[in-house]
Amino acid sequence: MARSTPSYTPVRNYALGFFLSAFLLFSDISYGAFAPLRGFVHASNLYVQMVSISMFKNISNSLSSFQQNRNLVQENEELREEIHKIRTRDFIQRKDAEESLQIVNFQETLFDSLKTNDINLFKITSIDLRNYLCCSTHRIYLQNSNQVQVAENTPVFGGSSYIGQTKNTYLNFIEVILFSDTKHLLPIKSNFFYCDARGKGKPMLIACKLNKNIDDFQNKIGESIFTSGLGGIFLKDIEVGVISAINSISINEIEVVITLKTNPLEENFFGMISRDADEI
């Protein structure tokens, strides 16, 4: 009787595959070697989705038009369509007006905060919701329809505060890394400390560690946190959030948890200062 069952398993091929995969995984995690490839695939996916939706609409329209073969029915349909068009046009105009108002309000907020009119506005295309709700990678993609030149690490404004910075551009999409991404580091300050806050990998949360005693931070929950401008990326004195928790790590070390001011899930438009305005 055989001591072990026969198998089809030549270990050499599996070992090769295993080491190749491990090498690719290590190079991607450590150095982001395949980030452009993934970005390209993601952008292509978005294009395919947009094109397929448009094709589906066209096919559905074509099929419905074949059914209009009698004059009476056709006339009836036309009248219905006309009413529908008027309603749709009215709806679109109302939505358009609402959107314009939203843009104007957002531009005013940006002008108040950044003191410049040279601002490019972008509409959100997608947010990686699965990762945003559970994991460390917090990214959003903005649609760059006008093909504006956007440099890497440009601060991105949303709602009434900064939400992150540009990471890369793929085709006509801009990838933005949010503050809550664990790879993001934001120099911040309050009235009594400076630190570099790292994303916690949880929605709207960042945190920094300080060599201070927890007693020094009594009654500090709810205090506003501002950008310090020390990283050279963000303008200083822009309010980004409030202290929401203070956790003791050891006797002389604490973690200050900050809840961000802007929720990226509730924003449609995001702004960036244009390249020319950013130059000194």
Binding site: T5, S7, Y14, G17, F26, N131, C134, S136
Partner: protein
């Protein structure tokens, strides 16, 4: 095996990952991370070990990494390793009961989830998620096994 058959198998695995992506946004609030994609892949290797070898596992992993993952290599690594282990013990698995198979495949799936969190999102690593996922996958595996077996018999009647 024909190229078209590989495409059908890859499509079912992708469907699994798409289901995971769609459902996990809801299920994660209940401390449950579904892993249909990995289980479907494991089923195919278990059902057709002589057809799905190391190269197929590697290429399926690469495709899944490109479309559904945040890093290249993670699924390649796990698909290759899982494929090797299943190939090694495939005849012993044939005499296992459904419960024993469930425990093995659910355990593999939980190990996959644990490594995914440890490597890609250590801040969100949670034993309760692993425990709940293990228990639920224990039940889900039986369903996946029978659905995929029916699918395989209807589509690949010659294999």
């Amino acid at each position: 095996m024909k190229f078209s058959n590989h495409l059908i198998i890859l499509s079912t695995i992708m469907l699994g990952y798409w289901l995971d992506d769609s459902l996990n946004t809801v299920s994660i609030k209940l401390f449950l991370e579904l892993n249909f994609g990995f289980l479907i892949f494991a089923y195919w290797v278990f059902a057709l070990p002589e057809k799905i070898q190391s190269s197929a596992a590697l290429i399926y992993g690469l495709a899944i990494d490109l479309f559904f993952s945040n890093v290249i290599g993670f699924n390649m690594l796990f698909f290759t390793a899982t494929s090797y282990i299943i190939h090694l013990y495939v005849f012993r698995f044939r005499i296992f009961s459904y419960f024993q198979l469930s425990v093995f495949f659910s355990g593999s799936s939980t190990f996959y989830i644990a490594c995914k969190y440890l490597l890609l999102s250590p801040n969100n690593y949670s034993y309760i998620v692993l425990f709940v996922s293990f228990l639920i996958t224990l039940v889900l595996w039986v369903g996946i096994y029978f659905v995929m077996r029916a699918f395989r018999r209807s589509v690949f009647s010659n294999l």
